[in-house]
């Protein structure tokens, strides 16, 4: 009887395993064929292909910053904070108002560094406040509930904030004034890298380093890791769990606020719905890199950005699919699925709390 079950189980295992192998092979085939066709067709120059990568890194850096917030909350509290995209959006919108006021006062282009810093402060404060409000009102009482519950709450909070902003500020888009110092680019290896991209990538790297140091080397960071590991034991060890959780949200919110400013200054148009898709993509990035892993969030963000940017042109057009850029999101999500099939815990595995696996 046992042997019979054993063989049957093995057969089923083979079915699933076989299908997954099939998927892997198909994916690799598709990518290789598409890429080969695209690269040999001479449609785009080598500089252009490189530019795709640079573009992807620029976009990916913003994903990475937002992903950091997701990954931290997930690592510490164990649930997906759907409303984090809205935390980003709130910073971006309020930053837009601030930037436009500064522009009207004539400061925006005459004192760019100062203006950026002011708006950065405002955006980060707004995002942090929204994140803290979320934590206080919606999540605090649900700390010990089964994971589905705070997830649902966060979906509710996401909609609430979106439509609150719609009601308060209206449906029209808000545009950041152009920043002249960001015009222009440097030339590297035959491609133009914009100052704006450099700023974004640079800031993202700086912030990641700061965050990493914070989590790994400071006392508060240690407390964070402890709470991520086991809330109750951490409390027994004298960690103020409540304060640590609040801190997690605050830091995540601040990161999102910074991402909001960078997005605003580079992409310049925001409206109440801007956070939704970004939130989903950023969470995808976090999972891609390994949820709970800070370096993973960064890597996931960059990877996702590059896939999105390069994928349609490289693979899809090569395979003869029309309007390939329409399928950008398909590429992003398929990339997620494939990575998770190849490596179920994400690119770098999970970190903040190993127990979760």
């Amino acid at each position: 009887m046992v042997a019979e079950q054993g063989t049957r189980r093995r057969l089923h295992f083979d079915f699933v395993g076989a299908v997954l192998w099939l998927v892997r092979i198909l994916a690799i085939l598709a990518v290789v064929i598409g890429a080969f066709v695209s690269l040999t067709s001479g449609r785009l120059s080598a500089a252009a292909w490189l530019n795709f990568v640079v573009i992807g890194i620029g976009q990916g850096a913003i994903y990475a910053l937002i992903a950091l917030g997701y990954t931290m909350v997930y690592g510490v509290l164990g649930f997906i904070n759907f409303a984090h995209g809205e935390v980003f959006m709130s910073g971006a919108m309020v930053g837009a108002f601030a930037a436009n006021s500064l522009a009207q006062a004539g400061m925006w282009n005459s004192n760019p560094i100062l203006s950026i810093l002011i708006v950065l402060l405002i955006a980060m404060t707004t995002s942090t406040l929204v994140a803290l409000l979320l934590e206080r009102v919606a999540y605090r009482r649900l700390r010990n509930a089964p994971r589905l519950i705070p997830l649902i709450t966060s979906i509710g909070a996401s909609f609430f904030i979106q439509y609150a902003f719609l009601g308060l500020f209206g449906a029209q888009t808000r545009t950041y004034p152009a920043l002249s110092i960001l015009d222009g680019f440097i030339r590297v290896a035959g491609i133009n890298i914009r100052y704006a991209d450099i700023m974004v990538i640079g800031s993202a790297v700086v912030m990641m380093v700061v965050l990493y140091t914070f989590v790994e080397r400071t006392k508060a960071g240690r407390a964070l890791r402890a709470v991520a590991e086991d809330k109750e034991i951490a409390a027994l060890m004298g960690v103020n769990v409540n304060r640590t959780i609040v801190l997690t949200f605050a830091v995540g919110g601040a990161m999102a606020g910074a991402a909001a400013l960078l997005f605003g200054v580079v992409f310049r148009t925001v409206f109440f719905f801007s956070g939704f898709l970004f939130g989903i993509k950023a969470f995808t990035a976090a999972v891609l890199g390994g949820i709970g892993n800070i370096v993973g969030a960064m890597l996931g963000g960059l990877t996702l950005g590059i896939f999105e940017s390069v994928g349609p042109s490289l693979v899809l057009t090569g395979l003869g699919i029309p309007s390939a850029h329409q399928l950008k999101d398909v590429v992003a999500f398929l990339a997620l699925v494939l990575v998770l099939i190849f490596k179920p815990t994400g690119l770098l595995g999970e970190r903040l709390s190993e127990e979760r696996a």
Binding site: R147, F283, Q326, F333
Partner: protein, 603 residues
């Protein structure tokens, strides 16, 4: 949280501690007031207050706008005046005029805070930023009077509302529920005036419409009083002796029970038949949509509620069902136009859905809960984008969609209008409910329970994870495809933007708010979430705002849903029930289920 009450200690252990002072912190009440003021400002700045002013609830003095506005100090007055919890072994705290005072203070502070947005709206033009801080809003806030008088009236109004909110705490418990229920019913009837009017007309009680409702809309004061008195008395009566219908049913013997069952079934059939007749065209339309979403909710209930697979991309199966129906039946289908009839196409539709269920299920078999969520979300989006894409334009019509989908027909009879559509929809709902129920109590249902509770252990016990998970997806997909097929033939056209992630979220909200795992709960959920917004169309602009708020509120207050299943309640309130059991030290059969040691507490 420091309650500055002095807790006198008992003289000897076991004695009842003496009654505590009713210490009402007036400063704290003021703080509640500030929060209340911020909330009221928010509600006004969003534009709810002036927008809702159009709907009269009780003619001539209460409009929805003012109700919403004054509900804020009412709620915060209630919160400010709440007495401390009664602990085991102590006498309840006596409430008195101080509580009412606290409520009044909270209300007054709320009113004072509201001065700020009013003045801002009148004196400055911030409308390029805050689009709703308009003179119109200020006008509503000042109750249509001049600035000074209006503000004074506003503050007084808030004060009174706060005091009334506090009064809820003061009213003796016996009267409290009937009063609140009565008021709630009055407001509901006023709000759902269209439904009530329609119901009365449908039942040929047209004369009553004039008694209750005023010509310009809203309840007449007399009507309001009648409703209140009616509900109040009913509540009073039933509070004493709640009818134990279910127990009495169980207590009957075989032949009696069979007779009652048949009567019940016949009555239900007649009622179901009469519903669209009585309710008319528009309400039937609403019920049709509710029914379609209910079908989907039943399907998602199986995937999430039974098998524990958090599928956030459920709309993909819905889309597959709708598009397959469109492709197979419509004359406008670009690639192949077999132009089958609805019923002939249905098996292919279900087959396609089942295939897509397997397609979605296989990659996610080994994935953990949260990863599963985001991946299925991705699949949902992928489905929508593929249906929209230029790539599949030759088959699915791309952005232009597929139109001219014919209505189904039974023999020579076409099903065209909303009342007619009600019948196939309700039939399929019953079928789906039956499938749900049968599966829940079957072997596969037990396998699903096992997987949901603890997957590794289930596997160790010999449950075939692969089959169980895939069958959950397949059944869920099949039910969604039913809904999709009905949707496509009812609307007559499919466009990609009908299949966005919002649909998945709404279905999720339905089963969560209604009560997961419980068929009656899901039905109530569908009615509330999908039906109410159609009835209360003022709320259209704020629909998702209210969904969001409702979700948050439900999760904080009653996460198991409006009509929960016992299992869910046990799962979610495990700790409390465990403590209760320990305290009372009396094993009751229900609590035995729930009592588990903390170490194996579900995460």
């Amino acid at each position: 949280m420091a309650q500055t009450t002095k807790t006198p200690t008992a003289a000897r252990p076991g004695d009842l501690a003496p009654m505590r002072q009713n210490f009402v912190d007036l400063v704290k009440a003021a703080k509640w007031g500030v929060v209340g003021g911020a909330t009221a400002t928010f509600v006004s700045a969003i534009g709810m207050v002036p927008d809702f002013d159009g709907r009269t609830l009780i003619d001539p003095f209460l409009t929805l706008g003012y109700l919403v506005l004054f509900l804020v100090p009412f709620a915060f007055g209630y919160m400010a005046a709440r007495p401390p919890l009664t602990l085991e072994g102590q006498e309840p705290v006596r409430v008195g005029p101080r509580n009412v005072l606290a409520g009044a203070i909270a209300g007054m502070v709320t009113g004072l805070v509201l001065i700020v947005p009013t003045l801002v709206a009148v004196n400055f033009n911030l409308r390029s930023v805050f689009v709703n801080l308009s003179p119109a809003m200020a006008d509503t806030l000042t109750l249509g009077q001049s600035l000074g008088v209006g503000l004074l009236l506003l503050i007084v109004g808030c004060l009174v509302a706060g005091a009334m909110g506090a009064g809820v705490n003061v009213v003796p418990a016996r009267w409290r529920v009937p009063v609140m229920t009565g008021l709630l019913w009055v407001l509901t009837v006023g709000l759902l005036e269209d439904l009530a009017t329609q119901l009365l007309r449908g039942l040929n009680l047209d004369a009553l419409v004039g008694v209750f409702f005023a010509p310009g809309g809203g309840l007449k004061p007399l009507g309001a009083i009648i409703v209140f008195v009616l509900v109040f008395s009913l509540q009073l009566v039933f509070q004493r002796r709640p009818p134990r219908l279910k127990a009495r049913y169980q207590a009957l013997d075989q032949s009696e029970r069979r007779r009652w069952t048949i009567i019940l079934i016949a009555a239900t059939a007649v009622i179901v038949y009469l519903i669209p007749v009585v309710l008319g065209g528009f309400m039937s339309e609403i019920l049709d949509l509710v029914g379609i979403y209910l079908l989907m909710a039943l399907g998602l209930n199986i995937v999430i509620g039974f098998a524990g697979l958090l599928d956030l991309g459920y709309v993909a199966f819905f889309a597959v069902g709708a598009y397959m129906t469109a492709v197979l039946t419509s004359s406008g289908s670009p690639a192949l136009s077999p132009e089958l009839t609805f019923w002939a196409a249905l098996p292919f539709v279900v087959l396609a859905a089942a295939l897509s269920g397997v397609l979605v299920g296989t990659p996610v078999l080994r994935m953990r809960g949260d990863y599963l969520a985001i991946v299925t979300l991705g699949f949902g989006e992928i489905a929508r984008i593929l249906f929209l894409s230029d790539w599949f334009d030759p088959v699915f019509g791309g952005a232009q969609g597929i139109t001219q989908i014919p209505s189904p027909s039974i023999g020579p009879l076409e099903i065209n209008t909303p009342p007619q559509f009600f019948y196939p929809i309700i039939v399929l709902v019953f079928v789906a409910a039956y499938i749900s129920w049968a599966l829940a109590n079957s072997r596969i249902g037990r396998a699903w329970n096992a997987i949901r509770e603890d997957e590794p252990i289930a596997e160790a016990l010999g449950v075939n994870i692969v089959t169980a998970k895939l069958s959950a997806f397949v059944v869920g997909a099949a039910l969604a495809s039913f809904a999709g097929a009905l949707f496509a033939s009812k609307i007559g056209a499919v466009f990609p933007n009908s299949f966005s992630i919002v649909v998945s979220i709404i279905v999720l909200v339905i089963i969560i708010v209604g009560g997961m795992g419980n068929l009656a709960g899901v039905a109530v959920g569908a009615l509330v979430i999908q039906g109410l917004p159609q009835l209360l169309r003022e709320f259209d602009e704020y629909r998702f705002l209210l969904y969001g708020g409702l979700l948050i509120f439900m999760m904080l207050a009653k996460p198991e849903g409006i009509i929960p299943s016992r299992r869910r309640v046990a799962e979610l309130h495990q700790e409390e029930m465990g403590q209760d059991a320990w305290l009372t030290a009396e094993p009751e059969s229900e609590l035995d289920e729930a009592r588990t040691t903390p170490a194996t507490a579900k995460d």
